[in-house]
Assembly symmetry: C2
Homo-oligomer: 141 residues x 2
């Protein structure tokens, strides 16, 4: 089972246009994104103080980047928690399955992009923290 040590920050390729035409950030499956299949993307646009997440995935890996504003992502393995600050478009966070996640928006109009290696499957979500703790403690085959 994945632990906190398996969640990690990844630097992305950034290209600032010489004509001030903005910032380009690039991510490729199997390159910056640790998984080879990007099956789903979701985007959260959140006001400062918004709290999202509060669930774990049994199987789904996630790759997160905050391209505007700033968010804190709390990863929890049932014993410890680590907070990753995504406050720059050039920084991404890989979150393997099996960790409880909480997302706190730090600025208004914060834009979080999440790439996933699986399509939406409701049974992949653990939305209750007590259930998550049981899931972490259960013996694995």
């Amino acid at each position: 089972m994945n632990g906190l040590v398996d969640a990690r920050l990844i630097k992305l390729s950034q290209h600032v246009d010489a004509d001030s035409d903005g910032l380009l950030v690039v991510t490729e499956a199997g390159e910056h994104v640790p998984f080879h299949q990007i099956q789903r993307m979701f985007t959260i646009v959140a006001p400062a103080g918004a709290k999202r997440g509060r669930h774990a995935h049994r199987l789904c890996s996630q790759f997160m980047l905050c391209v505007s504003g700033a968010v804190d992502v709390v990863c929890d393995d049932g014993r410890e928690r680590t907070t990753f600050s995504l406050d720059h478009p050039g920084l991404a966070l890989f979150v393997p399955p099996g960790l409880w996640l909480e997302i706190d928006a730090r600025q208004n109009e914060s834009v979080l992009i999440v790439l996933c290696d699986r399509l939406y499957e409701e049974h992949d979500y653990i939305r209750n923290y007590a259930e998550f703790l049981s899931f972490r403690k259960a013996p694995r085959a």
Copy 2:
């Protein structure tokens, strides 16, 4: 070869949180995204007035959404042009290969997300408009 009629707007699933915790927009490969393999994602954060794009792809399909601010996307098949306004997070634009693209940011801090069905390949880009016109006119096998 794809024409302007093959570029099309697609409505996305939006979920507004009852607790005002922001807006969630979801896209899945093979569902809203017309291609099954998302190989690459890039994000542009641009100031008002910024102009991006100005190239065509020989093979790469693109799926674009603007989750903050607003951008106009001009699609050109060498004979005609159509402008698509992406001014809402719930609206995406599918752009098949073979069309010349120009992107104009309409608001500051406009955030455009582009999903691609191919990894970066420099030889897939046509960056010169005269060359693009020749490409459009060339007989196909």
